[in-house]
Symmetry: C2
Amino acid sequence: MNALGQGARAAARAMALVSPDRKNGALWAMAEAISNSTSEILAANKKDWEAAEKAGVKAAYLDRLSLDAKRLQAIAESIVAITDIPDPVGSVVKEWMRPNGLRIAQVRVPLGVVGVIFESRPNVTADAAALCLKSGNAVILRPGSDSYGTSVAIHKALQAGLRKSQLPEAAISLVPTTDREAVGMMLAGLEGNIDVIVPRGGKSLVARVQTEARVPVFAHLEGICHVYVDGAANLEMARAIVLNSKMRRTGICGAAETLLVDRACASTHLASLVKMLLDAGCAVHGDADSLKIDARVTAATEDDWKTEYLDAVIAVRVVDGVDAAIAHINMYGSHHTDSIVTNDKAVAEKFQREVDSAIVLHNASTQFADGGEFGFGAEIGIATGRMHARGPVGAEQLTTTQYRVYGAGQVRA
Amino acid sequence: MNALGQGARAAARAMALVSPDRKNGALWAMAEAISNSTSEILAANKKDWEAAEKAGVKAAYLDRLSLDAKRLQAIAESIVAITDIPDPVGSVVKEWMRPNGLRIAQVRVPLGVVGVIFESRPNVTADAAALCLKSGNAVILRPGSDSYGTSVAIHKALQAGLRKSQLPEAAISLVPTTDREAVGMMLAGLEGNIDVIVPRGGKSLVARVQTEARVPVFAHLEGICHVYVDGAANLEMARAIVLNSKMRRTGICGAAETLLVDRACASTHLASLVKMLLDAGCAVHGDADSLKIDARVTAATEDDWKTEYLDAVIAVRVVDGVDAAIAHINMYGSHHTDSIVTNDKAVAEKFQREVDSAIVLHNASTQFADGGEFGFGAEIGIATGRMHARGPVGAEQLTTTQYRVYGAGQVRA
């Protein structure tokens, strides 16, 4: 494992200096190699799938694990899509002159080595590797044991792409074992050879990584996202945003988990919103006001305000205006994504300023919490930590900066 | 201690929303209160100083600890200087439109609670507190035991300034004990109530913080800074830059510790540079080529390339061109600050691109590695980590960002 880290570090140094064209060339070659390896990858996936089924894993999990020709094609296409993202390396964040004539430029440079620890989804192998390569980083991939064979097959194709572009194969390293011990070594930073860890998977994986990691982590533990329907909200807009925020896809981190309704509009808006959700097949755990609306509403407990259902369930609460909404969200939320529906600009501004979350929307669905929707081209995840990257983590967020100072012989007085 | 953390967290939430004018008003009031408390602070400092002298601490340490009316006036003035810095909170880093009409703004918001652990210099109490306040953060200060009484007296004045501006006193909290255990609790993050730790002091303090902290740290362990004199360097410029980089102040982190000279100009430049340093009172630990220059040069060992002397000592080595210089710096340096002297723009560009340090200068002294010299107005330290803040840490680096998304009812397809 430590040799793996040293190899990745050396590769990272080399990758930091590779031109945008060569990196894009490698991405094309990687996509081509995946396409050319379809039968090998699907065969490996079939083995993984059969072993997982035999072991009795859940259907949803089996579905995440399984690949077919179409899904594999989508993986190859998503690698190609990354060639379209602007290359962040070398871009100038800021540049200024000092009175003594020194010119200072803050320039983006790669972070170094990214450790990615993931579970069943084999597409992470390619997605994470491609985004790390684009941003000039090396990556160490640690797939879950269930998808290990598939990941090895995909990794082989990625390395063929690197070879074709004469880039170091260690730029995309795969942990050669499924031992849990290897994860521990990664979380300890592989002797200084991992700069950041990105966990991709369920809450227990993320929790373990956040608790044990001795290096920075880009992650979110959960997405307890809120929609607050303000007294000055248009009902039709509120209905559309609430329905989309909750029901478009219930299993993603940007899905709404709690609906807060301003008491000022409860008499006109609450019943409409609650019935709409119930009719759409969403269970409603409501407060006293919501319980009166419909017999299908069940009583919410304190726990509901803290729960990420990731399912067709929503908690509903009437609050006394925007201040109470903000207080609820900052108390029970997960600092991920929250939205206000209102036609009052001042109230919206207050909400956006005071809600302490990575993404705060006005009159838009929480499900826009996504690097693709932000225009980042791709994301390796969404971070709710306050350090370095907050919100969707794309190619730019996988860089750090360096100050380059241009002088003409200046010395300090 | 945990109550202290909770208080700081609550204060941080409030401080995040305070207007620039009120924060500047508080800074003025803090400076005034320090000025008005001159006799109390100097009396407390006299006690600290006498106790330290009695305990037999070193003269350099005693000097760092001691205050007089002039030094105290400088502390008050440096608080006032921070009112001139642009307020980073609420400033827009980037703003763009999506094809669906959503407008996305990335806006600076405070980091939260900053923990500052420092040693003898009592001015850190005021400097760190002022910069944290400016950037909308709360701060928890943990002074060294030797300067504790002085820090308490300064802290009292700072709190008077906060009260006058009706800001929460917990925004500038002081650890109420000099127990070592309190440091351990801060390094563990005070139950999630410290977002980042800034150690200010000697190498052993920084090393302890970096090793033990469970929260992010903005710091540099050491500044092993290099000047590389390239074959295409003007000798007069090289002499001025080398002399200033090493000898202007030898005890700061931006002082040069190693001089690398290109073999291509060694016959014309090496003797001049080495003799200049020796004549300026600098000891030279040289490689075989340097040893031949002057009998005063002593032989460098492998250890010299890794040593931060912080003194009038320099290591000198002849290298085979810019590639060897880059390799030496990336191997032995501390990723802090390095400079190249050359009239060859292509070589300079290569050096700046390939040297993996926070600050890389061309034709300028390494002693410009300083937030003030960068135009940041003030700094809380210099970071060599790759995450979040790299280089001088000023008010802007003490913020994170939030995405504010402005819609007109958009839902995700």
